[in-house]
């Protein structure tokens, strides 16, 4: 009985050990490579509980998720227009062929080292063909696509696929940024001057226009005034002519009389020859 129990336990233990060696779990985020005495046998890319030959086969796990590759230091590249630019990139990649990946780079650390040089050279090559304007423009996308395709050619041989390469930062190197600052300052000075000068210009224009408008307005008023006066005079003349024209002879008599009345003041002295109609009866008429 006791011996039987012990044997039973040993058998259970043996089964457990075998099972634990034969079973392995591949997680959602993983893929695995089954190797037998160092020789790769097959890849497992579906998650779940998996089997292998116990004891003689081993499993190596690889990441299945998208990995980021972010170089620590930006690369200083010379552009087509001879400008220097410090460019930081980042790339995202996947291990698509665990077998090749294992054979060529073995692990992620080594893979990243390889990627570093591959991305770097592809970047320099592409940027050497481009000017700063292009990098800043919408063409950035085509630049990054080209870099990605370049990198992919080599990455595929390492069992990886580059999903995208993005320009994370593109900056002037420290040396040139001082020059850029100076340029920015001078540019601002130019704009400031322009503002001040255009201010003077506008102000003078407005003042001149004010002066002009004043003269024109007053002159216009004067013209209207003369026109109105002229029209008034003409109307008055017409009225007089119409009225007095009925009998010019009588008018001149009558008007003369009026004028005489107004012409002589109390203080005036007249030397009169008593002839004429007024003095007609100065002497008694003879008949």
């Amino acid at each position: 009985m006791s011996r039987l129990n012990i044997i039973l336990l040993i058998i259970i233990a043996a089964i457990a050990a075998t099972a634990s060696s034969a079973l392995f779990i591949v997680n959602e985020t993983q893929q695995a490579l089954v190797i037998q005495f160092g020789e790769p046998k097959r890849t497992v890319d579906q998650p779940g509980l998996k089997f292998k030959l116990p004891f003689i086969q081993d499993v190596i796990f690889f990441e299945k998720r998208v990995l980021s590759f972010i170089p620590d230091e930006g690369e200083e590249a010379i552009l087509k227009d001879q400008k220097r630019l410090k460019v930081d990139t980042y790339a995202r990649f996947k291990i698509v062929d665990p077998l090749r990946f294992y054979q060529s780079v073995r692990n992620e650390i080594e893979a990243r080292k390889q990627l570093d040089t591959i991305v770097d050279s592809a970047l320099r090559e592409e940027l050497g063909l481009r000017g700063l304007k292009e990098i800043l423009s919408e063409q950035r996308n085509s630049i990054t696509k080209n870099i990605r395709d370049q990198v992919n050619i080599k990455a595929r041989t390492l069992g990886m696929e580059i999903i995208d390469v993005q320009i994370r930062r593109a900056d002037y190197p420290e040396v040139t940024s001082q020059a850029i600052f100076a340029r920015m300052i001078s540019e601002r000075e130019r704009i400031a001057r322009e503002f001040r000068a255009t201010g003077e210009e506008e102000a003078q224009k407005i003042r001149a226009s004010a002066e002009k408008q004043r003269v024109v307005t007053v002159a216009d008023g004067a013209r209207q005034s003369q026109e109105i006066r002229g029209a008034g005079d003409a109307e008055a003349i017409r009225i007089y002519a119409e009225s007095f024209g009925q009998d010019p002879e009588f008018f001149s008599f009558y008007r003369s009389m009026e004028a005489y009345k107004k012409s002589f003041n109390q203080d005036d002295t007249m030397v009169i020859n008593p002839t004429g109609d007024f003095f007609k009866f100065f002497e008694l008429p003879s008949n």
């Binding site: 336990l9 060696s21 392995f24 779990i25 591949v26 985020t29 993983q30 998650p47 779940g48 081993d58 998720r65 800043l136 993005q166 320009i167 994370r168 930062r169 593109a170 900056d171 002037y172 940024s177 850029i180 600052f181 920015m184 601002r188 704009i191 400031a192 503002f195 001040r196 255009t198 201010g199 102000a203 224009k205 407005i206 003042r207 226009s209 408008q213 004043r214 307005t217 007053v218 008023g221 029209a231 008034g232 005079d233 007089y240 009225s243 009925q246 009588f250 008599f253 009389m257 005489y260 002589f264 005036d268 002295t269 007249m270 030397v271 009169i272 020859n273 004429g276 109609d277 007024f278």
Partner: protein, 377 residues
């Protein structure tokens, strides 16, 4: 480094451990939250063996005791499958590492480890990524600038210093957990890339002034596009520009001077306009005055003419009725009036004709002398 080289990984390869891997806290899969801390299988066996050895002599009762212990352990193992999902969390259940189901907040059960396990990402909390600066002590007012992140080249090849913040949350827990190795870092570098892409097409002038809203909304949508492309399971809630400045003190001064110059220009123009507004209405007033005066003159002269004409007409009418008498009457009345008032010196014609020259002290006669020929009509 979550990369698992040979065996020994938390996912229990073939290394004999049945402990389903609850260690390795650096790995997001470590999930301290799973509650299946059942003792190591080997330990159980050992303790069983010990107990077995100790109690063996007591016969069948010992056997029963061992079975009881095994049963209790089994029950505990089964119970270890209960887990609760917090209100901010979602439960992602994996069966042998394979995604099985998503559970909502509340108490749930999964088959005990190592068959199933659960991950509990916080899906409702909004996360924050600061770019261009780091907040000190969580106080967002105290900031340390990270100039390598914040300096960007604008479309007109100037440099601008931008600090911004990205707010994001998990929108699809499965994607978030399974698609990207480092989603948060990915969001950050993608945000940097997107922001530089946008700033690279904007002039510094507008980046500093009126384009902020535009930049924010563009950055948000482009970043969302990019993370969607990555299948990151992330929703970009907001991109906020916290500060946009010229790159250095001297340059800031130059920019401020431009602002001042602009103000000065506006001031000059305003002053000139004030002058304009002062002068032109006055001129209009002057002009209106001239016109009004002319109108008054015109009215006056016309009315006077009408009056004179009307008076003449009346007199003329009566004159027509008896011409001679009226003429005489007017004549005489007029001279009556004139001669009635003025000083007169009357010299008889005959006297003058007689050759005598009369003495006439004209200056004495009030210095005002008029001679008139009385020759009349």
């Amino acid at each position: 480094m979550a990369f698992n080289d040979k065996s020994g990984g938390p996912w229990g390869s073939g290394s004999g451990s049945k402990n389903g891997g609850s260690g390795n806290n650096n790995n997001p899969w470590g999930g301290g939250s799973n509650q299946n801390n059942n003792p190591d299988f080997d330990e159980i066996m050992n303790s069983l063996r010990k107990r077995f050895g100790k109690f063996y002599p007591s016969g069948p009762s010992g056997n029963r005791f061992i079975l009881l212990i095994v049963f209790i352990i089994f029950v505990i193992w089964l119970l270890s499958g209960f887990y609760s999902v917090g209100t901010q969390e979602q439960g992602i259940v994996l069966r042998f590492g394979d995604y099985s189901r998503t559970t909502q907040p509340g108490l749930h059960y999964h088959l005990p480890s190592p068959i199933e396990r659960v991950l509990l990402p916080r899906v409702t909390s909004v996360n924050r990524i600061d770019i261009g600066f780091r907040a000190l002590d969580g106080n967002s007012n105290a900031r340390r600038d990270v100039s390598s992140e914040s300096k960007m080249i604008t479309g007109d090849e100037n440099i601008v210093d931008i600090d911004f913040r990205v707010m994001w949350k998990i929108s699809m827990a499965e994607n978030f957990l399974f698609n990207l190795q480092d989603p948060e870092e990915t969001v950050k570098v993608a945000a940097e890339s997107v922001m530089r892409g946008i700033i690279g097409q904007i002039k510094i002038e507008s980046a500093l002034t009126d384009a902020k809203e535009l930049i924010q909304s563009q950055a948000r949508s482009k970043l969302q596009e990019l993370v969607d492309e990555y299948g990151a399971g992330i929703e970009i809630r907001d991109v906020q520009l916290l500060s946009v400045n010229p790159p250095s003190e001297e340059v800031i001064d130059a920019f401020n001077d431009v602002q001042r110059a602009r103000q000065e220009r506006d001031k000059l123009i305003n002053e000139a306009e004030a002058f304009f507004n002062d002068v032109v209405p006055r001129a209009r007033g002057e002009s209106a005055q001239l016109v009004a005066q002319a109108e008054a003159y015109s009215e006056e002269i016309v009315n006077r003419a009408k009056g004179d004409a009307s008076r003449f007409n009346d007199i003329y009418k009566s004159y027509l009725s008896s011409k001679d008498v009226t003429v005489k009457r007017i004549y005489l009345e007029t001279f009556e009036e004139i001669l009635g008032n003025v000083n007169k010196v009357i010299i008889d014609t005959e006297v003058s004709q007689s050759g005598v020259l009369p003495f006439l002290p004209l200056p004495e006669l009030n210095n005002k002398n008029r001679s008139i020929s009385s020759g009349g009509n």
